[in-house]
């Protein structure tokens, strides 16, 4: 366990020192700070727009950070030849990969927590809300986005075991978009009577086996609180377990590939 934690801690340190990530984070924080200005501009929907904008910024910025953070992880280590130094010590390849992943997750946690904290403060200042439940409800969004980004980071790490960074960048974003879009598309296909049974079957297969990022887009009832949500706790538990299982799958396949790779 110690090698994994050491590698994770080193990875967090590297992430914090990477200027490109800090600039993206800074832009995200700035957007959240100016968000109340956008809310004022919109007729009758100040709070709705404020919530939508702040949550959207956190999700978007986190997505970029998650991808940039992970696509370079393995290729950079190989390119700089630092991987030889690490693997020459009593560190297994799987420990190296898991450590790198944990480091990415901790970095994401740090950066997303910062954005969420700024969001909470700005929302409080804007709304003058004395109800802590309102801010707690708002934070459900970033909490789910965090699991979503952990899953995206796992996709990035998985691809980084055998793909160069640029290809990985676009592929990871592509998987994220497909994984986000597929739930509504699948629902449409299922409800459409004209869809051929074979197409429905293929859609069902894809929807079952591709990582489903749409599961974590829980922002709609947070932005529009008049909706009544059924079995929220069960849902959150379900998607958390789903995320953990899928991340494990990706890491296991990544380990299998990385084990066979000549470095």
């Amino acid at each position: 366990m110690r090698p994994i934690l050491s590698i994770a801690a080193t990875t967090v340190g590297e992430a914090i020192r990477r200027r490109v990530l800090l600039v993206i984070l800074l832009i995200g924080v700035l957007f959240i700070v100016v968000a109340p200005g956008l809310g004022i501009l919109s007729a009758r929907s100040e709070t709705t727009v404020l919530r939508a904008f702040m949550l959207g910024v956190i999700q978007g910025v986190s997505m970029i950070i998650a991808v940039i953070l992970t696509v370079y992880m393995i290729p950079n280590e190989i390119e700089r030849r630092t991987i030889y130094t690490i693997l020459s010590k009593p560190v297994q390849r799987w420990q190296f990969l898991v450590g790198k992943y944990l480091g990415a997750v901790l970095s994401l946690l740090l950066m997303m927590s910062m954005m969420s904290a700024v969001m909470g403060v700005m929302f409080f200042l804007q709304q003058q809300s004395k109800n802590p439940g309102e801010i707690a409800d708002l934070l459900k969004g970033p909490a789910m986005y965090f699991i979503q980004m952990c899953l995206l980071a796992a996709v990035g790490i998985f691809f980084s075991t055998f793909l160069p960074p640029l290809v990985n960048f676009f592929l990871s974003i592509g998987v994220f978009l497909v994984g986000t879009f597929f739930n509504p598309l699948f629902q449409t296909l299922q409800e459409n009577k004209n869809t051929a049974p074979m197409v429905k079957l293929i859609a069902q297969g894809v929807n079952t086996f591709l990582p489903n990022f749409a599961n974590y887009n829980v922002q709609n009832p947070i932005i529009n609180p008049t909706q009544q949500i059924q079995n929220e706790g069960r849902y959150f538990l379900g998607v958390t377990v789903y995320g953990v299982v899928y991340i494990s799958i990706l890491l296991i396949i990544g380990i299998l590939i990385f084990d066979r790779r000549e470095v």
Partner: protein, 459 residues
């Protein structure tokens, strides 16, 4: 460094795939569809720019909706109303749970499309209602859009009040409805002529307001209680004075305010003074101010049009492009000193009044249910105290006595084509008599102030 694949890892992998697939299919997908899918499975049309589509694909529907709504607001400020409609539609597609966008959209479609003289384009109203209906389907847990739908019937359409009642009742079924807004159901019941239900509603709401005030002595609760007390008092007094109680008990109406019925003496003349400009002049023997007679000019074959109205509720889908080849003009003729005189200029808005058909109908309609209380005191809620030698009508509205008259014009007459280039087209009721007194010149002179209650016309 190469290692053999561990069978345990492979088994874990297969198990992992099965577990995640089962979770996705058995637990997550249904709950996601019910709770978190804003579009309820509807894919968008190609009405967005590529960057917006990308944002939608990426799950950023709400932020895209928010930004579009901010943009729509800037168009409001610029008065660029045409540009707002597609944005409203797009926002409601992106995030159908944005109640305020639906409510604002309904108001905008129903109220803001007007001609140069601020007459609403009534062809849009079915779409405004359809947008509200769509909103209620997406947001069944909150009262707001049910209330807005009722308000559109009650205030904008100002007719067929049973629809207002229907939607207000649905709104009241929702627990989040504001107490003060519930009172409107009592008003709507008056306009459907269901006076007993109106009184029952006020009693029920009054009891609730007493409990609310006992629980929390807030100013709003105090105010609501007082408002309801006043409404109930007025209602009971009016129910007696207007003979409702007597009628219900089977007693004669002699001695009550609605008896004998008052002859309003309606007559009208429509003169096409210029192409697409019509002057309406006529008589209405009610001296107290507050009468507005509805005048409609429409295609004779306008689909679904009858009795000075459209089939407002005909649409279930929103159409932002109303029929551009159909004409439907609606105006209120304000009565002063027992006459009305109004020039309606339709020449500046050819898209609103295209006049593409050959034949047109002019409809004149007066319904006491829309009248102010001081006139209803004489006419009653359903026109029991009103009559007209020529135009009283009990067919165009069920269980109501209304005044209804029709005239006809042709396209050539309205546009002053052909033989009408030099001749002035005039359409008038048989009982219309030219008067020396022009209502425009003696507006401030009140000759006699007859009592409506006495039944004397004061002519």
């Amino acid at each position: 460094m190469k290692q053999k694949t561990s069978p345990k890892l492979l088994i874990a992998l297969i198990l992992g795939f099965i577990v995640q697939g089962a979770l996705q299919r058995a637990v997550i997908f249904d709950l996601w569809t019910k709770n978190y899918n804003p579009g309820k499975g509807k894919l968008l049309s190609n009405a967005m720019s590529p960057d917006q589509i990308l944002a939608v694909l990426g799950g950023f529907r709400e932020i895209t909706a928010g930004i579009l709504w901010v943009k729509a607001d800037s168009f409001f400020d610029q008065g660029n109303y045409d540009a707002i409609l597609p944005l409203i539609r797009l926002v409601t597609m992106l995030d159908p749970n944005e109640i305020d966008v639906y409510a604002t959209g309904m108001w905008h479609i129903g109220y803001n499309f007007t001609d140069e003289e601020q007459r609403s384009d009534r062809r849009y109203i079915p779409s405004a209602l359809a947008l509200g209906k769509e909103g209620t389907l997406h947001n069944p847990d909150t009262y707001e859009l049910f209330f807005e739908e009722g308000w559109m019937w009650y205030h904008k359409i100002d007719d067929d009040y049973d629809n207002a009642v229907k939607w207000f009742l649905k709104a009241q079924e929702r627990p989040d409805m504001l107490p003060a807004r519930k009172n409107l159901l009592g008003m709507a019941y008056q306009r459907t002529g269901e006076i007993n239900k109106s009184i029952d509603t006020y009693y029920r709401l009054y009891d609730q307001s007493l409990k609310q005030f006992a629980n929390e002595a807030a100013f709003s609760n105090h105010q609501n209680r007082d408002t309801l007390e006043g409404n109930l008092d007025n209602m009971l007094v009016r129910a007696v004075q207007r003979g409702y109680v007597a009628e219900k008990d089977g007693r004669p109406l002699n001695g009550y305010d609605v008896y004998p019925p008052f002859d309003v003496g309606f007559s009208v003349k429509a003169t096409v003074v210029e192409p697409r400009v019509i002057r309406f002049e006529g008589t209405w023997n009610v001296l107290p101010v507050g009468t507005r007679i509805r005048a409609v000019l429409r295609d004779k074959d306008f689909p679904g049009a009858h009795g000075a109205e459209l089939e407002w509720d005909a649409r279930d889908s929103v159409n932002l492009d109303p029929p551009k080849d159909q004409t439907f003009m609606q105006e209120q003729l304000f009565v002063k000193n027992r006459r009305f005189n109004k020039k309606v200029d339709m020449s500046k808005d050819p898209t609103m009044y295209p006049f593409t058909k050959d034949k047109y109908v002019l409809e004149f309609y007066y319904n006491p249910r829309s009248a102010p209380p001081h006139i209803q005191d004489k006419f009653g809620w359903s026109g029991q105290g009103m009559t007209d030698k020529n135009f009283i009508n009990t067919d165009v509205r069920k269980n109501q006595r209304v005044v209804y008259a029709t005239l006809e014009l042709t396209k050539d007459q309205i546009l002053r084509y052909g033989e009408w280039v030099d001749k002035t087209p005039i359409a008038k009721t048989a009982n219309y008599h030219e008067s020396n007194s022009d209502s425009g010149s003696n507006d401030d002179v009140i000759l006699k102030v007859p009592s409506l209650r006495s039944g004397v016309g004061g002519k």
